[in-house]
């Protein structure tokens, strides 16, 4: 079994087993010097975004999740985890592509995640 896979555009890395994250919650992971929050929704979706809230750096993995919405525990900024968009707040989240294999391993793709996704300038 390989833990990493390289393609032209992205590197895919196995980061955890599904059961490292309880249903409906998130956990923070440190991967390749980046911090990301990976969530496992109650509907069974696994979604990964940047770990820190763009507002004041709050730990998003500690936030409440409903559907694919997460609420930052510090000041209540809200984001849609499936798109990275802000629902309440000025600035969206960087998203990371996720794949879960049949054995329940979570893989994240790096570099492919468009860095511009987090930056808006309104």
């Amino acid at each position: 079994m390989t833990d990493t896979a390289m393609t032209d555009t992205a590197m895919e890395l196995r980061v955890a087993r599904l059961d490292a994250i309880p249903p409906g919650e998130g956990r923070t992971f440190g991967v390749l010097g980046e911090k990301l929050a990976i969530f496992r929704t109650r509907e069974g979706r696994v979604l990964a975004v940047q770990a820190e809230c763009p507002h004041r750096g709050g730990p998003l993995a500690d936030g409440l999740v409903g559907g694919t919405t997460v609420i930052c525990p510090l000041h209540g900024w809200k984001f849609d985890l499936s798109t990275g968009d802000a629902i309440m707040g000025d600035c969206g989240l960087r998203k990371y592509p996720v794949r879960v294999d049949t054995e329940g391993h979570i893989f994240i793709s790096f570099e492919d995640a468009a860095p511009g996704a987090a930056a808006t300038s309104d």
């Binding site: 059961d19 309880p22 409906g24 923070t28 004041r56 730990p59 500690d62 936030g63």
Partner: protein, 817 residues
């Protein structure tokens, strides 16, 4: 491969509100792509809100609360910040800025935002021979000043503030909180001479004196008495005033020296053109209190925000034609609890100026408007400032005023809002915290949001300090015409399940729903709502007690890890210390834990407990194990604690054993979930040292072996004396009626409704009838449910030995490639 750095260098001198705000504005226009930004800040901190200094001095805010940009903000935005470094000089030919050590920083563009400093009047004895202030003399401009002032107050009896302007009054308010006798010494004939006329000033003086501040007008300080420290003041009329310390608050002086030193034009401040640029050098800008524009130097924040935007538009090329045309100065503030609004001129200046005035000194109300050619050119409001938002808008936009002048002073019948909002231009900023304009609100309504709540959620208008909420609501109503939708969710227990609390409870029982996900599944069409989860979890636990099916994702983070999250993602740990009673062994253990885990802050709480602040999430289980004490529940929407006074064992006034009662209360109710937090106290006599009368639930011993039970008290964001629920003659009865009241509140309180809101909504008569007189025949059932809830208690810190979920206490899981 090498990366060519094509960015220009931007240097900013000054990291105060003007400097930092300007950089924020530049960054938000993409300036980070154009410039490498370096800032000089004299103070060793990030950027903080200077307006809030008086709250820090009086203790209602912590220094941490007033940071606008903490140090890591600079790092995140790639801004190099030299803290504690004063820029000493500018060499324009070499385009360099030097710091005190002679180190040079090269710039392509330079912004001077050096602000201002306190003006030091020429008073004999203000300084010592060596040049420093005489001990006991202070100014009030920086966080360090706050600290030095508060340190010096120890053991002192009285303080004098020299200067009765806005800043002087704020300083006086702060000093009062240290228990000092506070004097305001003012040269002028009335307080706040810049903003108020003599009539309003006189009313304000009366208000201040009622609050215990002594005001001395027309007093010109000549000498500060005392050889090696402050002992008093002598005035020009040879009278004297004894005092232990002095705060100088006689105005501000712009810091223009660095500009003058390199040949830029300075008058009162650094002269700038409409692009905030020096007329002498195309690459140097000045902004904020140090800048002089068209002969004006501004000392308020609103003009500064406007200047920062123009500067940013210009320097980034976003709008090269951006121009600042000066600001109309309007202020709205609260001085020692007295509300004041002032704008424009304070006295009529031309013969045809029209003055509309109302004065009711006994109530502390004063209103005066100055109208020229049908438009507002000045206004003073004191006491009742309800009309201030409308008037400030009319003043700022120069809109024509309605003919009926009375409407300008008072709300009579239905105020003609339409006129106001129709005339208000679309770019008027309504929410100053989040920068939302009238146009953005109207656009949101036009896009289909038809209730104030929906508009606030989507624009964030009104979600900052909240003071503009009513205006946002009015604008939404106006923009909707007759098409306003009442948001039904205001009646729901939680926003995501369309049922009121009684209907929701009925449905939960009927369908036997024992988990939050089951409630969403059966009662909300399967649609999960994050914000609704904690409220549902609390209710289900109250209804099902031990049978409740706990789903950890339904809890707020505090309740998942049984500690209170802090702004940096660490946690605060407060062990149970019932009744505030501890012992040397326990204290030693707490001290050991604090040392072992390098706890950055150990703090006594208001609830007579000890708070270990800044504990890392992954350390929580071992901290609890080492403490070997139960959770104090200082994080939940639940029973928190029961304070107690010394009681009858030692106190010579004690009538009842408040300590023993507090221990029994804590033992019975610890950890109970409730609609909101519950803070309790017991007092051994009516002197009420433990403040039991302003607690959610309190017991006060009175003569004859009796206890008064108080409910619905508050002394936080709201202050309310509790109502007496009943008077009983045994500790057992205290526990019984307290328990019955708490259970009734748990079942009938709205989520996040404190007991004071609950009591005011239902009325104490109704609550007393149900809880004491059993008017609904449910008393026995309430007691029974309470007993079951008590029995379901389990110390959550036991999860130190058996985590409830995977990686429950991991702050970060490191993945090795």
């Amino acid at each position: 491969m090498s990366v060519q750095n094509t960015k220009q260098k931007l240097v900013v001198i000054g990291n105060g509100m003007a400097g930092a705000r300007t950089v924020e504005e530049i960054l938000s226009r993409g300036g980070g792509e154009q410039y490498d930004i370096t800032m000089f800040g004299e103070e060793p901190y990030g950027n903080y809100n200077r307006i809030m200094l008086s709250s820090v001095l009086e203790g209602s805010s912590q220094a941490d609360d007033i940071y606008l940009n903490p140090l890591d903000w600079y790092e995140r935005n790639n801004v190099t910040l030299h803290t504690g470094k004063r820029a000493a000089g500018i060499l324009r030919r070499a385009k360099q800025v030097f710091d005190e050590d002679g180190k040079a920083e090269t710039y392509d563009k330079l912004i001077i935002a050096t602000g201002s400093r306190a003006f030091i009047p020429a008073i004999e004895g203000v300084k010592m021979l060596g040049g420093g202030f005489k001990p006991g003399v202070f100014v009030f401009r920086t966080l360090d000043d706050c600290r030095w002032i508060s340190e010096y107050t120890a053991g002192k009896k009285s303080a004098a503030v020299i200067g009765g302007g806005l800043l002087g009054l704020e300083a006086a308010r702060g000093l009062q909180k240290f228990g000092l006798d506070v004097h305001i010494v003012h040269r002028g004939s009335h307080l706040m001479g810049m903003q108020l006329d003599p009539g309003a000033g006189a009313i304000l003086k009366t208000d201040m004196e009622k609050l215990g501040v002594r005001v001395h007008l027309k007093k010109d300080t000549r000498t500060i008495l005392g050889e090696d420290r402050v002992l008093g003041l002598r005035f020009s009329d040879d009278t004297t005033l004894e005092c232990d310390m002095i705060v100088l608050s006689a105005g501000i002086t712009p810091n223009w020296e660095i500009a003058a030193g390199c040949g830029l034009t300075t008058q009162r401040g650094i002269v700038v053109d409409d692009q905030m640029r020096s007329p002498d050098d195309r690459d140097i800008y000045a902004v904020g209190e140090c800048a002089e524009h068209r002969g004006e130097v501004y000392g308020l924040v609103a003009p500064l925000w406007e200047q920062a935007k123009v500067l940013a538009d210009h320097i980034t090329g976003r709008n090269p034609k951006a121009a600042y045309h000066g600001s109309k100065v309007a202020t709205k503030l609260k001085v020692m609890g007295v509300e004041v609004a002032s704008m424009g001129i304070i006295e009529p200046e031309q013969p045809e100026d029209e003055v509309v005035q109302f004065s009711e000194p006994k109530k502390g109300t004063y209103k005066k408007l100055i109208i020229r050619e049908g438009r507002l050119v000045g206004a003073i409001l004191l006491g009742d400032i309800g009309k201030a938002p409308y008037l400030m808008q009319a003043f700022d936009r120069n809109t024509p005023l309605p003919e009926e002048r009375l409407r300008l002073l008072f709300d009579i019948g239905d105020p003609p809002k339409q006129i106001t909002f129709t005339e208000m231009s679309a770019d008027t900023q309504v929410c100053n915290c989040n920068g939302v304009s009238k146009g953005a609100i109207v656009a949101c309504v036009n896009a289909g949001k038809r209730s104030p709540k929906a508009v606030m959620d989507s624009t964030r208008a009104g979600m900052g300090c909240g003071s503009c909420k009513s205006m946002v609501k009015d604008i939404v109503e106006w923009a909707c015409g007759g098409d306003l939708e009442e948001d039904p969710s205001v009646h729901y227990f939680v926003p995501g399940v369309p049922l009121s609390k009684p209907d929701l409870i009925h449905a939960i029982r009927q369908h036997n729903l024992k988990s939050v996900s089951a409630v969403f599944h059966y009662l909300a069409g399967g649609k999960e709502d994050a914000l609704s989860k904690p409220g549902l979890a609390s209710l289900l636990k109250t209804l099902w007690k031990a049978e409740y099916e706990d789903e950890r994702d339904a809890r707020f983070i505090n309740d998942r890890v049984h500690a209170n999250i802090q702004k940096d993602g660490t946690f605060s740990v407060i062990p149970q210390i019932a009744g505030g009673i501890t012992n040397p062994a326990q204290l030693r253990r707490i001290a050991d834990v604090a040392e072992k885990y390098k706890v950055p802050l150990v703090k006594l709480t208001g609830g007579q407990r000890i708070d270990l602040v800044g504990v890392k999430k992954e350390d929580l289980p071992s901290v609890w194990r080492d403490l070997d004490m139960p959770s104090g529940y200082a994080y939940g929407k639940s029973y928190r604690t029961c304070k107690s006074c010394i009681g009858s064992d030692y106190c010579r006034f004690g009538l009842g054993d408040s300590i023993s009662l507090a221990l029994r209360i804590e033992d019975r109710f610890k950890g109970l979930d409730s609609p909101h937090k519950m803070k309790l106290a017991t007092a051994g006599c009516p002197r009420n040292c433990s403040e039991a009368m302003v607690k959610d639930v309190g017991a006060v011993a009175v003569e004859g072996g009796k206890w008064e039970i108080y409910v619905g008290g508050a002394a936080g964001a709201s202050v309310r004396k509790g109502d007496i629920l009943c008077v009983v003659d045994s500790e057992n009865d205290v526990l019984k009626f307290m328990g019955r009241f708490i259970q009734y509140y748990r079942e009938n309180g709205k989520y996040l409704e404190r007991t004071y809101g609950f009591i005011e909504r239902l009325g104490i008569a109704k609550v007393r009838a149900v809880v004491v007189d059993d008017s609904e025949g449910i008393a026995e059932r309430l007691d029974q449910d309470m007993a079951e809830s008590v029995a379901a208690y389990r110390d959550p810190w036991k999860e130190a030995y058996m985590p409830a979920t995977a990686n429950q206490f991991a702050s970060m899981l490191q993945v090795l490639p």
